[in-house]
Each structure stands twice: as structure tokens, then as C-alpha cells.
């Protein structure tokens, strides 16, 4: 089994290195194919491992070698395949494999085709390390690794020039990449601090040691550790206020958005909370956990609200991702870790599908993303329409589809925990989710064919791509059906969470309510956007001028705020520090000493007039002064 662990882990690495070999040469289709195959190998291993774990119920733990060892600190490269990680592994490798295959088609015309695969596989490798590591430091490797790959991939089209924020809210791919990396680093610092707290209180960073030691730690330490780790999670999972990078990350190629910024990397924060559930589940840190849940709920609502008015196809999906991450945190914060994990998996499938579908649309529309310029695409892109429809239904949480099960469970949990405000918000958000998902679907695939006015000639994606997407579609539909099996499976590694009897009884009622809310959202969207002819959608100036619309459109002015109050002052202070403090104070004082000495020398050389009489005078001055001092000091004793 150990070998399988390594195969699952290193197949993406091999793939990445292989592709990197051709990184600077022109497109080689086989690079993509081989990379995809290696990814599939990884997926297969993961599935096998999952099956093994499922059957035996015992986690597999391997230690490859020692990494860092100093003082009392020992960090190995150790890998733990248990219920949590194997779930993640399977999801990650599955989505990755699909995305790899998809990319062969999507990146078809890109001259940096090979490089793309190298990055993509490297990302998968990092993600695998993240989920498989048996210690926090290993997790951090993956954590930073995915960050870097995300940086590379967001900035994949680095050659694009910077634009103003009005023209392009993300400015440029390279700008977005840097933003993502830096914001993530802010969170990573929190994570590091969490690691330090754990190390100095426990003496190790191994999960098992740390978790075993937790009950012996004081409440303040636990709280500090939990907060610090959660700050880390907030960055990676783009929780408010560190969320802005995620929408900007849409500057990357769409497969990247699908894989990284929807299905896998952004869920790393959720994964961390789930992984560290012994910590977050403790009585002492209930406050932190509740904060997590509240923040999750807030972000769910907050992101959904921005999606309501967004016109950019990918950004809408990005907001929905943000929103769904909020759901996951809500669940995790409320202690329903398995539900969070389940939603994470289900979300991965349908969100990846949604993004890939979006990618198809982009491909068809020559990278045009404004849904107001689309409409009626259903006719030319039936397959894509279908996939995106499925994904959107799943996202909206209609019954039978995956999203229904997982999201409904989260909403139920909120009710179950008695946090009715959260529950209400989550229900409301579910309705908004349905509305904006279908707004997007209707605007792009239904209604008038507005694209014609702009001279687009959309066409369907390659067949093999559509075929490759099918597993995701299947899972987007069916994943929820295995909820109970999944529960049973993960219960061996995760604290159980069951609804109370009361909740259980009214579960159907709650579910129904959610469905009703979601359906009304869809219907509203249909009425507003899907109809053709006279009732076709028209933009309403009045609405677009309203304060709410603008607020939402400008993302509550948060990016603007960051720019005005963080970025610009930082640049300004830096400049001042350099020109004023460093040059004019620190350096000038050093030079000032030198200059002072030089000046003193220059003025004291004036005593050297060359005139003998002056010299004699100096001599006399010296002797008389000495004599006077002698007389005075003798007088004084």
C-alpha cells in the first residue's frame, strides 16, 4: 500500500517535471496526454487507497525521510492516508485529471501549452502534499506550494499589460497573481504562528502527537492556536477580509480557475479546519468555532450578494465559490466536519464542472466574458449548456442533485445548533445562489442572441473535452446519493455529527423550505432574463445607478479600500522611508560625521599658515596655556 501512497503523491510530480522539460519548447500535445495519464494514475491510486481504507478502516501512515531536525524539533516527510485525506486525494486527483484532459483542448492554441501542464501538475503535487502530510509543517509545504502554483497559473498570461481598475477589475494577470500570493502570505503568517504555538506547547508538529496532547493545554493556548490556524485557513479559502484575490484570480486560464480556485486549493482552509478538528472541536475553543461558522455564513451571503449584479461569467462563478466556501466553514465551525467535507467534495465536482463549462463558453466566445453580450448560446453549445445546467442546479441545491444533499445538510446543521440567524442567512443565501446561477445560465444560454451584435461566432468545444467532463457531470448529479455511505466511511476518522431528533423530524420541512426558496430564485431569474422577444432582458439604467447596485458591483468598495488605505500608503511610506529616513537621516548622519571630520580638518589646517611667526605664536600659546593650567591646578591643589 505504501507504494500506492507514493505513486499517488509523486505521479503528479513526475508529470510536472516531464512537462517542465518541454517548458520552453512549442506545444507538444503528447505532453498534455502524458500528464493527464500520470494524473489518472494518481487518481487510480487514490481510489484504490480509498477503497482500502474503506475496507480496512485503518489509516496508512508512511514516513519517507527526515526533513528538518534542529534542537528538539523533528519534522519528517510523513504521509498519512486516512479517511479525511483520502477523500481529498480522490476529489483532487479526479478533478485534476478531468481538468488536465480538458486543458488539452482548452489550451490548444496557447504557445505555452507545455508550461501550463507543468504548472498544473505541480499544483496537484503540492495539493497532494497538503492533504497527505502527517504533520503541520508538511501541510505548510503544500500550503505554500499551492500558493506558488496558483501564482504561476494566475499569472500564466503574464504578458498582458496592466489596465486600470475600471477597465479590468483585476488589473492584469500578473497583478492578480501577485495579489493572490501576497494575501495568502498574510494568512500564512497566521498559520506559521499557529505552528509555533503548537510546537512550543507540545514539542512536535505531528498531527497525532499534537492532537493527543491538546487536552493538556490551557485554554488560552488552544484559543491562540485555533485563531492562528484559522487565519491561515482564511487566506487560502478567501474568507473575508482576505477574499479579494479570489475573484481577481479569474485572470488565470479557466481550467486553473476550475481546478484551483474552485475545486481544490481554496478548500484547503476548510480542509485544515476539518483536519484539525480535534482542536477546533474542543470546548475551550467553542468561541473560535462559532466565529468560524458566523464568518462562513457572512461570507456566503456577502459573496452571493455581489454575484447578483456581476456581469463577468467567471467572476460570478468565483463569487459562488466564495459563497460555497462560506457554507463549508459554517458547517465546520458548527462542528459538522463530515458535512463540511462532504460539501467540499460535492462542491468540487459541480463547481469544476461549472467552471469548465464556463471555459467552453469563453473558448466559444473568444475570451469574452460579459454575459450581457451572450444569450441564446444553447443553440450552438448544447453539451455545454447541459453541463452547466446540471452544475447550476446542483449549486442551487435542487433535490436529487449533489448540492441539495450537502448544502441542505449544512442549513439543517445551522438550524440544529440553534443558531437561527445563521440558518436564516444560509437559507436566504441559497435563494440568492439559485437566482444568480440561473441568471447566468439564462443570460448566456437563453434569450436573445445578443452576441451576434458583437460579431461573435461561437462554436462547441471539442468532443473529447465534453466526454472528459462527463464524470464531473455524473458526480454533480449523483454525489449526494452516497451521502450515507460517505458518512459511514468518514466517521472512522472524523467526529460524528448527527442531527437532533427534533431537527430530524422537521428535516423534510427545512429541506422543502430551502428548495422552495431556491426554486423561487430560479423562477425569478427565468422571468427576468430567459424570455425572448418583447419581454427579453433589457438593462435598466435606474437599477444600475442605484446605490445598492453600485455597492455590489464595486464589491462593497473593498478592493478600492485596500488600494487607497493599504497599497498606496504602503508605497508612499516605503518611498518616504527610503528618500527621507534612509537617505536623509540614517545615511546623511553617517556622511555627516565624515563631512564634519573633513570640515574640521579643513578649518584646523588653517593654523598651518606657513608663517613662522604664527608657528612661534602657536608654540607660545601652547606653553602659556600649559603654564596657566599648571598654575591654576597648583593653586587649586
Amino acid at each position: 500500500m505504501e507504494n500506492l501512497v507514493y505513486i499517488a503523491l509523486f505521479a503528479p510530480f513526475v508529470s510536472s517535471m516531464f512537462a517542465a522539460l518541454f517548458g520552453m519548447s512549442p506545444k507538444q500535445t503528447y505532453v498534455g496526454i502524458i500528464a493527464s495519464m500520470l494524473l489518472f494514475v494518481s487518481f487510480a491510486s487514490s481510489v484504490t487507497l480509498a477503497f482500502t481504507i474503506y475496507t480496512t478502516g485503518t489509516p496508512i501512515h508512511v514516513t519517507m525521510m527526515e526533513w528538518i531536525s534542529a534542537g528538539d524539533l523533528t519534522i519528517p516527510f510523513g504521509f498519512l492516508v486516512d479517511q479525511i485525506s483520502v477523500t481529498m486525494m480522490t476529489v483532487v486527483t479526479l478533478v485534476s485529471t478531468v481538468v488536465h484532459i480538458y486543458s488539452i483542448g482548452y489550451m490548444d492554441h496557447d504557445k505555452s501549452f507545455n508550461r501550463f501542464f507543468s504548472y498544473l501538475s505541480a499544483f496537484v503535487f503540492s495539493m497532494m502534499i497538503l492533504v497527505m502530510s502527517d504533520n503541520f509543517a508538511g501541510l505548510f509545504i503544500g500550503w505554500e506550494g499551492v500558493g506558488v502554483c496558483s501564482w504561476l497559473l494566475i499569472g500564466f498570461w503574464y504578458h498582458k499589460a496592466d489596465k486600470t481598475r475600471e477597465e479590468n477589475p483585476s488589473i492584469s494577470p500578473s497583478w492578480a497573481a501577485n495579489e493572490a500570493f501576497i494575501v495568502n502570505r498574510i494568512a500564512d503568517l497566521g498559520m506559521l504562528v499557529g505552528l509555533f504555538i503548537l510546537y512550543w506547547n507540545v514539542g512536535s508538529l505531528q498531527y497525532d502527537v499534537v492532537f493527543a496532547e491538546l487536552p493538556n493545554l490551557s485554554g488560552s493556548v488552544l484559543n491562540a492556536a485555533a485563531i492562528a490556524l484559522f487565519i491561515g485557513a482564511m487566506g487560502k479559502s478567501a474568507q473575508f477580509p482576505l477574499h479579494t484575490w479570489l475573484t481577481d484570480a479569474m485572470e488565470g486560464p479557466t481550467p486553473v480557475s476550475a481546478l484551483i480556485h474552485a475545486a481544490t486549493m481554496v478548500t484547503a482552509g476548510v480542509f485544515l479546519v476539518i483536519r484539525a478538528n480535534p482542536l477546533f472541536g474542543m470546548e475551550e475553543v467553542a468561541g473560535v468555532s462559532f466565529f468560524i461558522a458566523s464568518l462562513g455564513t457572512f461570507v456566503a451571503f456577502y459573496a452571493a450578494s455581489m454575484a447578483l449584479v456581476e456581469r463577468d461569467l467567471k467572476r460570478i462563478i468565483a463569487y459562488s465559490t466564495l459563497s460555497q466556501l462560506g457554507y463549508m466553514f459554517a458547517a465546520a465551525g458548527l462542528g459538522a466536519y463530515w458535512i463540511a467535507l462532504f460539501h467540499l467534495a460535492a462542491h468540487a465536482f459541480f463547481k469544476a464542472l461549472l467552471f469548465l463549462g464556463g471555459g467552453n463558453v469563453m473558448h466559444a466566445m473568444h475570451d469574452e466574458l460579459d454575459i450581457f453580450k451572450m444569450g441564446g448560446l444553447k443553440k450552438v453549445m448544447r453539451g455545454t449548456w447541459l453541463y452547466m445546467g446540471i452544475a447550476s442546479i446542483a449549486l442551487a441545491g435542487l433535490p436529487i442533485f449533489a448540492g441539495f444533499y450537502s448544502k441542505d445538510a449544512i442549513i439543517e446543521t445551522a438550524f440544529n445548533e440553534g443558531t437561527y440567524l445563521l440558518w436564516f442567512m444560509l437559507v436566504l443565501t441559497a435563494g440568492m445562489t439559485a437566482f444568480y446561477s440561473f441568471r447566468q445560465i439564462f443570460l448566456s444560454f437563453h434569450g436573445e442572441e445578443r452576441y451576434k451584435a458583437f460579431g461573435f461566432h461561437p462554436h462547441e468545444m471539442y468532443k473529447f473535452v465534453l466526454v472528459a467532463m462527463s464524470p464531473l457531470a455524473a458526480l454533480a448529479i449523483s454525489a449526494g446519493w452516497f451521502m450515507d455511505d460517505f458518512k459511514e466511511f468518514v466517521y472512522k476518522g472524523i467526529p460524528e455529527y448527527e442531527m437532533s431528533h427534533h431537527t430530524h423530524h422537521i428535516a423534510w420541512l427545512l429541506g422543502l423550505l430551502v428548495v422552495v426558496v431556491a426554486l423561487s430564485g430560479i423562477i425569478l431569474a427565468y422571468y427576468k432574463y430567459a424570455r425572448t422577444g418583447a419581454k427579453a432582458f433589457k438593462r435598466d439604467e435606474k437599477v444600475e445607478e442605484s446605490f445598492i447596485y453600485k455597492l455590489l458591483k464595486n464589491q462593497y468598495y473593498v478592493p478600492k479600500f485596500y488600494e487607497e488605505f493599504l497599497t498606496k500608503p504602503y508605497a508612499m511610506i516605503s518611498e518616504k522611508l527610503w528618500t527621507t529616513v534612509d537617505m536623509k537621516i540614517v545615511d546623511a548622519s553617517v556622511d555627516g560625521i565624515a563631512k564634519f571630520l573633513y570640515k574640521t580638518g579643513d578649518s584646523s589646517r588653517k593654523m598651518q599658515t606657513g608663517n613662522l611667526s604664527h608657528y612661534l605664536n602657536w608654540m607660545a600659546v601652547g606653553s602659556v596655556a600649559l603654564l596657566l593650567v599648571a598654575a591654576i591646578s597648583a593653586m587649586l591643589g
Binding site: N617, A620, S623, V624, L627, L628, A630, A631
Partner: protein, 187 residues
């Protein structure tokens, strides 16, 4: 009593003459007063019983040194008034005054001690010259010889410095070996 009179007389006169030496604009006056002052100083020596020293003072100073100065003065043609621009006479006199003040203060201290035993005492009833000779040619024979060396040095120095050979400086003579270099410089 005569000693007191002589002391004050000599003091006032020497001080006066030396002041002339120092302050006079005329070299001749200065030199003459210097010579006169030195003669009077030998007077001090005689009062103090240092007869031999007094004689030496007369012979060497007034005789030899002043003669040398006179010759030099003739050589330099310095009989006319010397124009000296003194930038800050105040400083000079303050310095002089202060040094006089401190030195006087110092000498006014009870320097004289009866406890001090003479190492080379003068002998009563023996002439000063004899006493001096005794010490000079035993204890101070070496300094005496070195003084001879010093005078030799002074003599050689005087001769070669004033000699004709100094008129043409080899140090600044670039005729022989610097032609090429001058040409190069010109380029």
C-alpha cells in the same frame, strides 16, 4: 648693601636694554643694546661669585657672538629701519605678560631649600676658575667634549651653508638628465 644696589641697578638696566633689543625697529640699536645687556649680565655673574662664567660671558657672548652678528648685519645690509607688520601685538604682549606672570608666580614659590646639599660645592678660599675647572674636567668632561663636537658641527655647517658650492643647486639642476622628460611634458 652694595649687592642690593648692584642687583637692582643691573636688573633695571638689563631689563631696559633687552626691552630695547626686543622692541627697537633699528637693528643697530637692537644689537647694541643686546651687547650691552650681555655685559650687564656678566655683572650679575660677578655679583653671584661666578667669576669664570662672567668672563666667559664677556668673551664668548660679547666678544664672539656679537662680532658674528655684526658681520652678519653687514652682510645683510640691515642698518636701515626694519619694517615689521605685526598682526596682533596685543596677543604677543598678553602671551608675554602671562608667561612672565606665571613664571614669576612660580619663582615666588619657596623654591629655595636649605636641605639641599650641594653635589659639587664651591670651596672657600679657592678661586672660582679653579673650582670650575675641577668639575668641568672630571664630571663634565664628556659634555665638554660633546660641546666641542657641537662646535665642530656648527663650524662645518656654517662653512658649507655659507659656501659658494650652495649657489648652484644640484637638486634643481634638470639640465643633465631631464631633457627627455621635459620634451614629454611639452607634448
Amino acid at each position: 648693601m652694595y649687592e642690593i644696589v648692584a642687583f637692582y641697578l643691573f636688573s633695571v638696566l638689563t631689563i631696559g636694554l633687552f626691552l630695547v633689543t626686543v622692541l627697537s625697529k633699528n637693528v643697530l640699536y637692537a644689537m647694541t643694546s643686546l651687547a650691552a645687556g650681555m655685559v650687564l649680565i656678566s655683572g650679575f655673574f660677578f655679583i653671584l661669585g661666578a667669576d669664570f662664567l662672567g668672563v666667559v660671558q664677556l668673551v664668548v657672548y660679547v666678544g664672539a657672538i656679537m662680532a658674528l652678528y655684526s658681520f652678519a648685519m653687514m652682510f645683510f645690509d640691515a642698518t636701515r629701519d626694519i619694517k615689521e607688520k605685526n598682526t596682533n601685538p596685543a596677543l604677543v604682549f598678553i602671551l608675554g605678560g602671562l608667561s612672565a606672570f606665571v613664571l614669576v608666580l612660580m619663582f615666588a614659590a619657596p623654591i629655595h631649600s636649605d636641605a639641599i646639599v650641594a653635589l659639587y660645592p664651591m670651596h672657600d678660599g679657592i678661586g672660582n676658575a679653579q673650582d670650575v675647572g675641577m668639575v668641568l674636567f672630571t664630571k663634565y668632561l664628556i659634555p665638554f667634549e660633546v660641546a666641542a663636537l657641537m662646535l665642530l658641527v656648527a663650524m662645518i655647517s656654517g662653512i658649507i651653508l655659507a659656501g659658494k658650492k650652495m649657489d648652484l643647486s644640484l637638486t634643481e639642476d634638470t639640465s643633465a638628465d631631464d631633457e627627455i622628460m621635459t620634451k614629454k611634458d611639452e607634448k
